[in-house]
């Protein structure tokens, strides 16, 4: 075990998988010699060779298309989209090709690819460095969508994603690459050192896709969150004194529905928190699932605390980002009813 930041844990997962499986290779914009704009692939080209980790033209569609073709051949490509905001040129490849290849070919071909993309706000990234597009992928049959909230999970989930024979969108909350962030932007940034989830095994291990983690046991209300919002929700519970049960979903598809329903059936209340815009966001699906499965145990309307239905603004960063005060307000609303 050693202490790692999330970016180091992701780097370690990639390093371990390059070492274990000759069919794993990594490519994307600036990931080769330079080691990635967030340093996720630093030194991997020097260590494993230029054909294992290399730079690509600036073409998200081309990156994902070639990855799918490699997957059809028998490789396990792990590609990086520099920011999730820039994944849209690859959307046709992900939706029309990667997601459906196994289905449409009657199982003859499939796309065992992993698409890594830093996502989320809280960094003054403005409109094209902050987006949370997870709902664009969870809506697509045939894609898996995974979002870690700790270094330990980031490594274990990424290894699972790489070994998975289905296409996985692996969204990395860049705000917590270097330390957990609870939304208290007025306080000094903390490193991962000493924080829960920062002890990471150096070798191979997996965190299974489709299993949520309960980050805080509670009896008053269930909070469904993922990525940076897990830390915000924990902070909100602490500040509000509300005995919230905070569930880190970890993977949105496949979703750990049993952990969710067990929690809401216990608390009778549910608050859903995500950075993404509200309307048709993943929270809407979570809300519908909880309503369908826990209706007779619910004691209050399901509450959503999310980004506003606007493009992600620059100057209004902290008015947009759902911080601990807004989440705490959501918790109170869920308790009042």
């Amino acid at each position: 075990m050693s202490e790692m930041s999330m970016i180091q844990a992701i780097h370690s997962a990639l390093d371990v998988m390059l070492g274990r499986d000759p069919n794993v290779l990594i490519f994307g914009e600036d990931v080769g010699y330079f080691g990635g704009v967030f340093r996720a692939t630093e030194g991997l080209q020097a260590k494993h060779g230029p054909t294992r980790c290399f730079d690509t033209p600036l073409s998200e569609g081309g990156i994902v298309a070639t990855a799918i073709g490699m997957g059809a051949y028998g490789l396990r490509p792990v590609v990086e989209i520099q920011f999730a905001d820039y994944i849209l040129p690859a959307y046709d490849q992900l939706v029309s090709e990667a997601a459906r290849l196994r289905y449409r070919s009657g199982g003859e071909f499939w796309a065992p690819i992993t698409v890594r993309a830093p996502y989320g706000g809280g960094i003054f990234g403005g409109q094209t460095h902050s987006a949370s597009p997870e709902a664009l992928f969870t809506h697509v049959a045939g894609l898996k969508t995974v979002i870690p909230a700790t270094p330990y999970d980031a490594k274990g989930l990424l290894i699972s994603a790489i070994e998975d024979d289905d296409p996985v969108i692996f969204l990395e909350p860049k705000r917590i690459y270097n330390g957990p962030f609870d939304g208290r932007h007025d306080q000094p940034a903390r490193p991962w050192t000493g924080q829960e989830g920062s002890e990471v095994p150096e070798d191979y291990y997996k965190v299974a896709l489709g299993s949520a983690a309960i980050r805080r046991q509670g009896r008053a209300v269930s909070v469904l969150a993922y990525g940076t919002m897990v830390h915000v929700a924990l902070r909100a519970a602490e500040e509000s004194g509300i005995d919230a049960e905070v569930i880190d979903l970890r993977s949105l598809v496949p979703l750990d529905i049993d952990t969710i329903t067990a929690s809401v059936n216990k608390t009778g209340r549910c608050v859903i928190v995500h950075e993404a815009t509200r309307y048709s966001g993943f929270g809407a699906e979570l809300s519908a699932l909880v309503q369908e499965r826990c209706f007779y145990r619910l004691e209050a309307p399901i509450t959503r605390v999310t980004g506003w239905d606007t493009p992600y603004p620059h100057a209004f960063e902290w008015d947009y980002f759902p911080g601990p005060q807004r989440v705490a307000e959501g918790l109170r609303r869920a308790l009042e009813a």
Binding site: T51, G61, G62, E97, L101, S105, G106, E108, D164, I257
Partner: protein, 411 residues
């Protein structure tokens, strides 16, 4: 005050519309044998005349002439001829099956049979073709079971695609034929990735991919060309220029000012322009590009110049946008007739053999169609409902399982 005329917007238009005389004067057709054949290791910069030339082998009298005349065993040529004839009979039968309500959709490849049959025989086992939906002759040339095709078109219980795909959108991995989809061009880059994988693994296999003239306008085409060029991918990228993208003539796709083969120049890829109705020329060009790819010299772009004789699909009426006799006026003739004449000129074929083969293939198609109809046409004896929920993921998730139960009990 401006001292020049106002700007005007140029909208390309075909040279002939319904009721007008067909006009192919926009195309130039060098004589068979005229195009030079550079060595496969020639630098791209020394081949920039090729995209504006036209590789043709078969002369009017059926002889194979010039430097591109390939050394192909007569047996292989007969296989190619058989595949093209089988394709044409099959197309006719399935087109009729659509009119009889036995399937929802069909697309013919009439006139373009050589562009898929010849590459099918020129590629080696283990290579992978990333086809378009107008390339069933590729499968015909490899003796893919007709039953699979018929059952797929009828979406019956024996459909290898389990009733999930529109007719024609086959997948035949063991035959080197990649999964098709209805969206155009999005597999072009897969071929490049597949070829890069082969190179990455120090393998000796190559990929070959096709798009139509219309699809060259998609971003996918550009992306694939860039990646193929950058990584020297062992891939043959092909444009089947049949002059028409549904109702849009190839000028709308950007073919008015240049050739599609010439697109290669900007990417540093050799561009060959080939008579697509000349089986031997298609075979020779494929073989040249394949040898170049296997020699680790990277990708080639090939434009096969041909003509879409039939309508775009069963939903199309070409008489609404082009002269009804345009196909008859097509200067490059019919690929089946031209290969037949060649084999006869070689003394390897005869009218009697041709007629006998035609009868046998007719019967083969008839029998396959009957057998498929007996299993079920569209809506009769489909695959079990549970197939709808398989292969979404490798292992169904809880949603697939719950919804499958919901569907199975649904009235």
């Amino acid at each position: 005050m401006r001292n020049q005329p106002p700007l005007s917007l140029h909208i390309p238009a075909p040279h002939a519309r319904p009721g007008e005389k067909p006009d192919f004067s926009y195309l130039t057709f060098p004589e068979p044998g005229a195009a030079r054949r550079p060595h496969i290791l020639t630098p791209e910069a020394e081949m920039r005349d090729m995209p504006y030339s036209l590789i043709r082998v078969l002369a009017e009298d059926g002889r194979a002439i010039g430097p591109w005349a390939p050394h192909v065993a007569p047996e292989t040529l007969r296989r190619g001829l058989r595949a093209m004839m089988l394709t044409r009979f099959f197309d006719d039968r399935m087109f009729a099956a659509h009119h009889q309500g036995k399937t929802s959709f069909y697309m013919k490849s009439t006139g373009e049979e050589a562009t898929a049959a010849a590459p099918s025989l020129a590629l080696l086992p283990g290579d992978m073709c990333f086809p378009t939906y107008r390339m069933v002759s590729f499968l015909m040339a490899r003796d893919y079971p007709l039953a699979n095709l018929v059952n797929q078109i009828f979406s019956n219980a024996a459909d290898p695609m389990r009733g999930r795909q529109l007719p024609l959108l086959y997948s035949a991995r063991d035959y080197g034929f990649y999964s098709l989809a209805g969206n155009v061009g999005s597999r072009f880059g897969h071929a490049v990735g597949w070829a890069m994988a082969s190179a990455y693994k120090n393998d000796d296999k190559i990929a070959m991919a096709f798009v139509g003239d219309g699809t060259t306008a998609e971003g996918n085409f550009h992306e694939a060309m860039v990646f193929a060029s950058v990584y020297h991918a062992p891939v043959i990228l092909c444009v089947t220029n049949n002059q028409w993208a549904i109702s849009s003539y190839q000028g709308i796709a950007g073919g008015e000012e240049t050739t599609f083969a010439a697109r290669g120049i900007g990417y540093g890829l050799p561009g060959l322009r080939v008579d697509g109705n000349d089986f031997l020329a298609v075979y020779a060009a494929t073989q040249w590009a394949a040898e170049r790819a296997r020699a680790n010299h990277g990708a080639t772009l090939i434009e096969f110049v041909t003509y879409r004789v039939a309508g775009h699909s069963t939903n199309d009426d070409p008489s609404r946008y082009r002269p009804s006799d345009e196909a008859r006026a097509w200067p490059l003739g019919d690929p089946i007739e031209r290969l037949k004449a060649h084999l006869i000129a070689l003394g390897e074929w005869s009218e009697a053999q041709h007629e006998a083969l035609a009868r046998a293939l007719h019967e083969e198609v008839r029998a396959a169609a009957k057998a498929g109809e007996a299993l079920g046409t569209l809506g009769q004896n489909p695959p079990p409902k549970r197939e709808m929920f398989e292969h979404v993921f490798k292992t169904p998730d809880w949603r697939n399982l719950e919804q499958r139960r919901e569907c199975e009990v649904a009235p």
